[in-house]
Subunit: 439 residues, 2 copies
C-alpha cells in the first residue's frame, strides 16, 4: 500500500513518491513539473546534471504515473522536489487533447465544459474538479455530522418508486405501463418511517428530467431530505437557516486552503457571512409579489418565481438571503399543508440565495388529515392514479402526527458557496440529457 | 418541536409524553399499554380510578398518537408510566389487520413477510423492523467513520450508467435501445476518480434484477464499494477482514441492548468472535474444489459456489469465515486482474460467512494495462458493445496505476450479524419483483 503522500512532505527530506504529472515545461536543460497525488500538488524540478535519464523524462506524457526519488527543498513559501531519479509506473499514451491538467486548459470555460459531459472518465481528474468534489465530500460528511448530532438518523430511501411529488412528466421511468420510475424526492418514504424514528434525514441520488434546461438543474442530483415530527414552519425555517450555515462553516474550516484558492478568501468569507442566520430576511409570497409589482414585473399570481424575479427580491434586501413563505398550492406537492388563513397558500418557505444563485432549499409542514390529503390530491389531479398513492394516503389514517421537512439540492448549495456558474461542475458524472450519457 | 422522549424518562417524574400505542390489553378496570416513540418503548398503566376518561381510552385504536400525562414509577427493573390524563393527537382509524405492532404478530414469520413487501408504508413501523433499520443506520455510520478515519473520502457514484459489470440480462434498464440502466456496481466510476483521490468509498443503492430469487438478494440493495491505489490482493484481504470486524464491533458497542434483544447476547458475541480476523481461514478456489470432491460433490470447475457448497466449506473449517482466493475469470468482472501463475484464475478473493450465510464481500486487484482489458473484454463478449466501455477501457492508457477494490452487500453483512433469514427484513422498502413495487 502507498503510505507516503505529497501532504506528508517536509523540507530537506530524501523522498520517494508515487504521483502523476499534471503539466510540465522545459526550459533548456531544466524541466519544471507540476505533480499531483490523492493528497495534493507539488512542483518539481529535473535537470540534465542532477536527474538520471533526463532526456527520456522530458518525453514522458502528461498524466503518466511515476515514482520519483529526490530531495525536498523549501523555495520561497513552498516546497519543491529536486528529482534525482524516476521510474514509470503507468505511461500515459492516450491521444487526448487538451490534457485534463494542462495549465492552459480552463475546464470552467463554457467551450470546455463538454469535456466533463462527454468524457467524464478522463476529465474527472482535472485538479479543479477534484478539489470541488473533495469539498463536496466534506460538505456531505458535515451534513451527516450535523444531523446525527441533532438526534437524526440517516435513513435509506428507495430509488425505485411509483409515486411522484409533482407531475409525472419529469420522471425518469423504468417502466411506463406500471408507473415505476426513479424517485425525485424521498418524502413518500420518510413520512412512513417517521413513526419509527421521528427525526430522519437521507441523502439520495434523485432524478428529474426537466424539460427546461438551466444552470441549476441536472437529471441526476444529490438531494438532502430531512423530516421531523411535531414541528412548525417557523421552527423548520430556523432549523434550516442554522443547518446550512453550520455545514458551510464547518466545511470551510476543513477546506480553507482550497476554498480560498477556488473562490477567493474575501468572496468566500462574504458568502459565509450572508449565510449567517442573523442576515436572512423572511417575507411572504404576497409581499414578494408586491415587490415585483413595484419593479413593474408582470407576474401571474400562483406561479413560481423565475431566476430573474428571485434576483429582484434579493437585490431589494441588499443581496441577502431571502425566505419566501406561504407559496401557492398550485406549485407545491400535494401533501403540503394549506395555510389556515388562505387555503390557496401552503405552509411552505423557500430559501433564495442572492446574486442569482436562486432557490437552494425549501421547508414545508405536511398534511396530517386523510380528508385533507384526498382533497389535495383532487386539486392536483392525482386521483386518477390513486392506486399508486393509496398506501401513502391511508398512512394519514394511522396515527400520523404533525410533521414537516426540509429539502435541499446539494449541488445548488455548493454552487452558491463555491461561486460557480453551473451545477455540472459539482457532479462527478453529470447528466444534462439522458441520451448523452457516456459513463 | 418535541423535546422530551421515552429515553429521557427517569423514575418518579411527572411526565408529558407524545407517543404511539403499539399494543394494549384490558384486564377489568385496568388497561396495560405498550407505548413507543422515536427513541424507544415503555409500558404504561391506566385504571378506572386514576385515569381521566378511562372508558374512552380503552376504545382507542392501536397505532394512535397521543400525548399522555402521568407519573413514572420504577417497577422491578423497568420504568412504567401511570397515566393520569391523555389527549389524542392523531387517531388510528385504518381498518388494518394485523396491527403492525400487535404482540401476537411476528413479522419475521414466512407467512407475514408479504406485509413488508406489499404494504411497507404501514409495516415499516413494526418495532422489530424499526430496530433492525436503526442498527443498519448505525452500521452505515460506522462504515463512513471507518473509511474517513483511514484516509478515504465518500465519493458519489451515478445511478444511471451505460456499463455493466457482468451480463446485461440482470440490468434494470431505463432505456433499452440506448443501453442506459441502473448501476449494479460503482467500479466503472470509482476507477477514474482514483487518480484524484487514491482512496475512495461509496455506498449506493445498486440494482440487479437476478432471475434466481434467493434469501440473499433484492433488486435494490445497499452496496459498499471501496477502491484504492497501489494495493495487492493480500493487503485487500487483510483490510477487508479488519473493516468488517471493526464496523460490526463498533455497531454492537452502540446498539448492544437492541442487538442482544434481537439476536441473543451469546449468539451475537459468538458471531463477533467469528468475525475477528484471527479466526478467518484463507483457501484457494482449487483447494475449495478439492474439499467439495472429498465430500462427493459433482462440481463443474469454473463455476461459482452454491450456498450448499459454501456451507460444506465453512463446516470443514469449524464454521469459521472462509476466504476463497483466485476465483476463475469465467464468473468475475472483465476488469479483474488475472493470476500470473494461471490465467484462468483472477486476483480475487470472496469472503464466505459460516452456517449458510454465504458470500458477504469480495476483493479484487484490477487490470492496469490496456491490452489486458481489451483481451479480457473479448473473453467476456463485451467487444460487441465496445462503444459503451470505450472511455473506461481507454482510461487504462492514461496513467492508471496498480489498484484494487472491495465490494460488500450491506444487507448480507447485517443478515449474518443479526441472524436473519432474509435480506428483505434489512431494507425499508424491499423489492423482490419489479412489478410488485407498492411504494
Amino acid at each position: 500500500m502507498k503510505n507516503f503522500y505529497i501532504k506528508d512532505i517536509l523540507p530537506n527530506q530524501n523522498i520517494k513518491l508515487k504521483c502523476w504529472i499534471a503539466d510540465k515545461r522545459q526550459l533548456k536543460n531544466n524541466l519544471f513539473l507540476d505533480l499531483y497525488d490523492g493528497s495534493g500538488e507539488i512542483e518539481a524540478l529535473a535537470s540534465i546534471n542532477e536527474t538520471e535519464n533526463f532526456v527520456q523524462l522530458c518525453k514522458i506524457n502528461r498524466e503518466s504515473c511515476m515514482e520519483i526519488t529526490g530531495l525536498s527543498k523549501k523555495y520561497k513559501d513552498k516546497i519543491e522536489i529536486l528529482i534525482k531519479n524516476y521510474e514509470i509506473i503507468a505511461n500515459s499514451t492516450l491521444n487526448i487533447f487538451p490534457f485534463p491538467n494542462a495549465k492552459s486548459f480552463n475546464i470552467l470555460s463554457p467551450k470546455s465544459s463538454g469535456r466533463l459531459l462527454f468524457h467524464p472518465t478522463f476529465y474527472i481528474r482535472n485538479r479543479l474538479i477534484s478539489k470541488i468534489l473533495y469539498i463536496k465530500a466534506v460538505f456531505k460528511r458535515e451534513m451527516q455530522n450535523y444531523f446525527w448530532n441533532n438526534g437524526f438518523i440517516e435513513f435509506e430511501a428507495p430509488t425505485l418508486t411509483r409515486q411522484t411529488l409533482y407531475e409525472d412528466s419529469g420522471v425518469v421511468w423504468i417502466n411506463n405501463k406500471k408507473h415505476i420510475g426513479l424517485s425525485r424526492c424521498a418524502t413518500f418514504h420518510l413520512e412512513p418511517a417517521l413513526l419509527s424514528f421521528e427525526r430522519l434525514f437521507t441523502i439520495t441520488n434523485s432524478h428529474s428530467d426537466e424539460k427546461v434546461k438551466t444552470n441549476r438543474h441536472l437529471i441526476e442530483y444529490m438531494h438532502l431530505k430531512a423530516e421531523m415530527t411535531f414541528v412548525t414552519l417557523e421552527e423548520l425555517v430556523e432549523f434550516a437557516k442554522n443547518m446550512y450555515y453550520q455545514i458551510a462553516f464547518n466545511t470551510y474550516e476543513k477546506c480553507k486552503k482550497i476554498m480560498n484558492e477556488i473562490v477567493g478568501e474575501e468572496i468566500v468569507k462574504n458568502k459565509l457571512e450572508k449565510l449567517n442566520p442573523k442576515n436572512h430576511k423572511v417575507i411572504t409570497y404576497d409581499q414578494a409579489v408586491e415587490i415585483l409589482k413595484e419593479n413593474n414585473i408582470d407576474f401571474e399570481y400562483g406561479k413560481s418565481l423565475t431566476t430573474k424575479q428571485e434576483k429582484i427580491l434579493t437585490k431589494k434586501f441588499n443581496e441577502n438571503f431571502v425566505w419566501v413563505k406561504y407559496i401557492p398550492y398550485t406549485v407545491e406537492g400535494f401533501m403540503f399543508k394549506r395555510y389556515e388563513k388562505n387555503k390557496f397558500l401552503t405552509m411552505t418557505a423557500d430559501l433564495i440565495a442572492p446574486q442569482g444563485f436562486g432557490e437552494i432549499l425549501g421547508c414545508a409542514e405536511k398534511i396530517t388529515d386523510y380528508d385533507d390529503v384526498i382533497s389535495s390530491m383532487e386539486d392536483k389531479n392525482k386521483m386518477k392514479d390513486f392506486e399508486r398513492y393509496k398506501d401513502f394516503a391511508e398512512l394519514h389514517k394511522l396515527g400520523l402526527p404533525p410533521h414537516g421537512g426540509i429539502g435541499m439540492g446539494i449541488e445548488r448549495a455548493l454552487k452558491y458557496l463555491l461561486n460557480l456558474d453551473h451545477v455540472k461542475y459539482i457532479k462527478p458524472f453529470p447528466v444534462v440529457k439522458i441520451n448523452q450519457i457516456n459513463h
